[in-house]
């Protein structure tokens, strides 16, 4: 099993989620996060007082997937979250040691 973490632009969330549903991903965790990378921050101006924000808002997706589907998940996110501009985000893939469904106690891929 793989644990996939994707940092994407917030406005791409719905597109990505729909595409992932289409390839059989039944659940994910979504968090609003802030961070920085190569993309420049944004500048806010209040009556001439300029504040530049280094941290930009992003959305973090966390998805647990079986080994067979993991590569397809990464590919789907990469294609649907892509705008071609700096700041589109990153995808990380980790090995997942176990998964347990709390209600039934099932573990392994059946819990996904």
């Amino acid at each position: 099993m793989k644990f996939i973490i994707a940092i994407i632009k917030p406005f791409k969330l719905d597109t990505v989620r729909e595409a992932l549903s289409g390839i059989g991903i039944a659940g994910m965790t979504v968090t609003e996060v802030k961070g920085f990378g190569r993309q420049k921050g944004q500048t806010e101006i209040y009556r001439g007082a300029e504040y530049s924000t280094n941290m930009l808002p992003k959305v973090k997706l966390e998805i647990a997937a079986s080994d067979e589907i993991a590569a397809q998940v990464v590919e789907t996110i990469q294609q649907t979250a892509n705008t071609g501009a700096i700041g589109d985000g990153k995808i990380f893939v980790l090995d997942l040691a176990s998964a347990t469904r709390i209600r039934t106690g099932e573990s392994g891929e059946t819990a996904l």
Partner: protein
């Protein structure tokens, strides 16, 4: 100065210009009767009170109160950080409460009487303290011969001005002032700065009495200074006090080092919009009658403000490519401030120019001058109220010119008032004298009071309290839970 007695000028709209035929006859009768029976014998009667005027003035009074709470409180509150939201709301609300009581106690008497005082041109005495002698049968003059208001209406209307003026000051040192010291300052400042300046600018014997008592007037009124609704008394007065306060108190911890963005421009938008609405009471109500001059002040309050809001947005569109809401509402307030002294004098066309010019100048002050000089006028009380007030007060001398469609000034020295001869250069000089007098008077009083408080009770909470936010440290509560 040179105009002292030769041109006893008028604040506002003229009885001689009263066009309504319904009024013409009683005005003439009253004046003629007064002239026959020797000037001093004139006695206003209850029949000279018009119910339309009374209704309009009571509505205006409520509108001006709305400018303080909630409008100013929300406007300011939205501009501070969330941890100081309640402190600003509480300061404004408490100042309104305290100012109303002080007005009842001795404010009205100091501002609008000229007896029982060693300097009747500077401030009044205590003959009407605690509204002594003010009853349902006592009357207050308007700007027309033979037209009166119940004195209680005038007391209340003016009370709302006394409430908002000290509340305006708190924006200059928001987020870092000790609450109790602030309230003590407000009581002392009203007594030593607001009441005398209101007296100097607005007090006079009234159109039916002035010819018999030609020196019974405030100093600046006597000079012929024009201030329709309080450019000097309210805005320059508060703006300068704010500047002095922010200089003496010092900048906020972290000023220029950490971001201090407004926590809710939504609140600021609501507050600014309510200010605009309330300002119709402030400006149009200052006609003291429900007549065409109130309507003139009304339309000027509308269009000058519109021009100022649009002007600020246009400047930002040019300079940043992003016109901001905060910019537009700042322009709106700058326009409201600037048109205040000119509201009943200007033609709507020149009012638009005045509003736009004030907006541009205020933009320059809050974005450039403040940053260059480094003072922390947190919410730009000086940059908008003092600067906009000065532009408006001096501009009034220009836009009031009948040659530009203005209303000129009214000569009340005869029993029936008539239009005075307008001299624009002389008027602008007079306006500058009025502005200068206000700045010096309020500057000296404010500096003395702030310094005394700084070295006695202290003006600002300790660093930890300020860092934690005044809501928790001064008031023991939080705005958002």
């Amino acid at each position: 100065m040179k105009r002292i007695l030769s041109t006893t000028a008028a604040l506002a709209t003229g009885a001689c210009l009263l066009a309504a035929p319904a009024f013409a006859a009683p005005v003439a009768d009253a004046a003629a009767a007064a002239a026959e029976a020797a000037p001093a014998a004139f006695t206003p009667t209850a029949e000279m009170v018009n119910k339309g005027d009374v209704a309009w003035m009571m509505v205006s009074t409520a509108l001006v109160l709305m400018m303080s709470v909630p409008a100013l409180a929300l406007f300011y509150g939205g501009l501070v950080r969330a941890k100081n939201m309640l402190s600003v709301l509480m300061q404004v609300l408490t100042i309104v409460c305290v100012a109303a009581l002080v007005w009842f106690g001795w404010g009205y008497s100091m501002a609008f009487t000229s007896t029982g005082t060693p300097f009747p041109a500077l401030f009044g005495g205590l003959d009407k303290a605690f509204l002594k002698g003010v009853s349902v049968t006592s009357l207050a003059a308007t700007f027309s011969n033979g037209v009166y208001l119940p004195e209680l209406v005038f007391v209340m209307f003016q009370m709302t001005f006394a409430c908002i003026t000290p509340a305006l000051i708190v924006g200059a040192f928001a987020e870092r002032v000790k609450f109790t010291s602030l309230i003590i300052f407000v009581v002392a400042w009203m007594t030593l700065a607001y009441f005398p300046i209101a007296h100097m600018v607005w007090y006079w014997a009234g159109p039916d009495f002035l010819h018999a008592a030609p020196t019974d007037m405030g100093l600046l009124w006597g000079w012929g200074a024009l201030d329709f609704a309080g450019g000097t008394v309210v805005h320059i007065n508060a703006g300068i006090a704010g500047l002095i306060g922010c200089l003496i108190i010092g900048p906020r911890i972290g000023y220029k080092k950490e971001p201090m963005p407004p926590h809710s421009l939504v609140m600021t938008m609501i507050g600014a919009s309510l200010l605009w609405i309330g300002w119709f009471g402030f400006n149009a109500g200052s006609a003291l009658e429900s007549n065409a001059f109130a309507a003139l002040a009304f339309v000027n309050t509308f269009v000058a403000t519109a021009a100022a809001g649009a002007a600020w947005a246009i400047i930002e569109q040019i300079t940043h490519k992003k016109p901001s809401l905060l910019g537009a509402v700042s322009g709106v307030v700058a326009g409201l401030v600037a048109i205040t002294p000119a509201a009943g004098f200007a033609h709507p066309g020149t009012a638009i120019i005045l509003g736009a010019v004030a907006s541009v100048i205020c933009y320059f002050f809050v974005t450039t001058v403040k940053n260059k000089l480094g003072y922390d006028d947190s919410l730009d009380v000086f940059g908008i109220h003092a600067v906009g007030g000065i532009v408006g007060a001096i501009g009034t001398g220009i836009v009031a010119d009948p040659a530009l469609g203005g209303q000129g000034w009214i000569d009340y020295t005869a029993p029936v008032a008539k239009a005075g001869e307008f001299d624009m250069v002389g008027q602008v000089i007079t306006q500058c004298w009025a502005v200068g007098t206000t700045i010096v008077w309020t500057g000296v009083v404010s500096a003395a009071l702030f310094l005394i408080l700084k070295y006695t009770l202290g003006l600002r909470p300790d660093a930890e309290a300020e860092t934690n936010g005044l809501d928790i440290s001064e008031h023991g509560e939080r705005a958002y839970n």
